[in-house]
């Protein structure tokens, strides 16, 4: 065995306790005893390995990662044993989903299954041709909120004033996997709808909720967590316009007076 071959083999060596007994390394290690250059190279190599491992070990783990993994594993077992047919509205909505959209979202990797399911089901509901089925059709946001409260559906009321000034198309109270949920549809100035789906965050089984707005097919979707609720905003409006609206949602409360459409879409924070 020449020195170069020994180096190549020893490049895979980790430590005495893990690889010392591996016969593959024995001859190379033996050769090192009579080859000072090889010994020096090997010591440098172990030094480099140690340095890199130490640095990479500094990548912090999310504090609750292990708990989340265990919760998901346990949750998975429970769900599989308690599997039941989905609510009827899901079946109807699923039939109407735009080509392949549900399939796309249901097969997305990452994220909890439950969250992915919710995203898929909610999008199927709002993307129904002709618009989603509404329990109450009204341009008045206050009426939608009263309706949702009466029907024990979650209702996010701390909306910015700018959004409160927008007309609604209406709302719907529904149940997703035994969890009350609501849909409120706002009319954007260009006639398209901005949908707000609200559900108790606990319904997501501690799933990580992605931040930021995503363009998915011809839909734009964003999630927020507010007061223990998960808010899903979805619209077909162009990204540029929707960005402005959603950025405005974080903005100043208490703006009085009528909001012109150009103001709505030119907000800067």
């Amino acid at each position: 065995m020449n020195s170069d071959t020994a180096k190549e083999i020893l490049s895979a060596y980790r430590s005495k306790d893990r690889d010392g007994a591996d016969p593959t390394f024995r001859e190379a290690l033996r050769q090192m005893e009579s080859d000072a250059d090889l010994k020096k190279w090997f010591d440098d190599q172990l030094d480099l390995d140690r340095t890199i491992r130490q640095k990479l070990a500094a990548i912090e783990l999310p504090a609750d990662l292990q708990a989340k993994i265990l919760a998901r594993i346990r949750g998975e077992k429970v769900r599989r044993s308690a599997f039941a047919l989905p609510p009827a509205w899901l079946a109807v909505a699923a039939c109407l989903v735009l080509g392949g959209l549900a399939l796309f979202f249901s097969t997305r990797p990452g994220g909890s299954d439950r969250f992915q399911e919710f995203k898929s089901d909610a999008l199927a509901m709002v993307s129904k041709q002709g618009g989603p089925d509404l329990d109450l059709e009204t341009p008045n946001l206050t009426e939608t909120q009263s309706f949702l409260r009466e029907h024990k559906a979650p209702c996010y009321e701390a909306l910015p004033s700018r959004l409160k000034l927008m007309e609604t198309a209406g709302c719907r109270a529904f149940v997703w996997k035994d969890c009350p949920a609501s849909l409120t549809c706002f009319r954007l100035p260009d006639g398209l709808l901005l949908h707000l789906v609200v559900i108790d965050k606990a319904a997501m089984d501690n799933a990580d909720i992605p931040a930021g707005m995503k363009a998915m097919g011809d839909w734009h979707v964003m999630f927020q967590q507010k007061n223990g609720m998960l808010l899903m905003w979805a619209s077909r409006a162009p990204m540029d316009q929707l960005k402005q609206v959603l950025v405005a949602l974080r903005g100043v409360q208490g703006v009085q007076g009528e909001l012109k459409s150009e103001e709505l879409f030119s907000v800067r924070w």
């Binding site: 890199i52 990797p109 990580d208 707005m213 960005k243």
Partner: protein, 180 residues
């Protein structure tokens, strides 16, 4: 033969290296956490198919890498567009941003290594896999693992030497590659 796996012990033993490996692939705290969770979820569903408990480590890293690649393919088929940071919530937490600049330096250096060497190095350093486990994970011959480790380490040493203090890491004066 079916093997009874203690999933909780497996999670406890492997979630840290799996997450770090995922982070090196995805470069995103959230995506790394997702990939790690997804990998264990797949194990919980498919553990009845695991016939050799001693290969569970390789199985986990193989599965995580496959899920990551599947995600990449899916993203290229259905691209998701994210808004620029000024318009959205902070995607990476402050703790992640401030986490070990040294680790970031190494991860950045790894991006400059040839792809075929990089994955072998990541499995070696982050997953602490043996050369046999790396061969099993990537489904390549043992000799290839060794030559890629050797070449990859030389490349990494050279890249790091440009950014790290010279007394810590320096290029090998006899950098020389064997034929694969």
């Amino acid at each position: 033969m079916r093997v009874d796996l203690d999933l909780e012990n497996i999670v406890s033993e492997f979630y840290s290296p799996l997450y770090r490996f995922a982070f090196s692939l995805a470069r995103s705290e959230a995506q790394a956490a997702d990939l790690t969770q997804e990998t264990f979820l797949i194990l919980s569903k498919q553990h009845a198919q695991v016939r050799d408990a001693t290969k569970i480590k390789s199985w986990l890293f193989t599965t995580l890498r496959r899920e990551f690649l599947r995600g990449l393919r899916s993203q290229s088929a259905h691209p998701e567009v994210e808004l620029k940071p000024e318009h959205q919530d902070q995607l990476v937490s402050d703790s992640a941003v401030s986490q070990a600049i040294d680790a970031a330096t190494v991860l950045e250096a790894l991006t400059q290594i040839d792809e075929s060497y990089r994955i072998v190095l990541e499995l070696f350093y982050l997953a602490d896999l043996s050369y046999k486990e790396i061969a099993a994970t990537l489904d390549i011959p043992i000799g290839t693992v060794m030559s890629r480790l050797s070449r990859g380490k030389e490349q990494l040493r050279t890249v790091l030497a440009k950014t790290a203090p010279p007394e810590k890491i320096s290029p090998s004066p006899q950098a020389k590659h064997l034929p694969s």
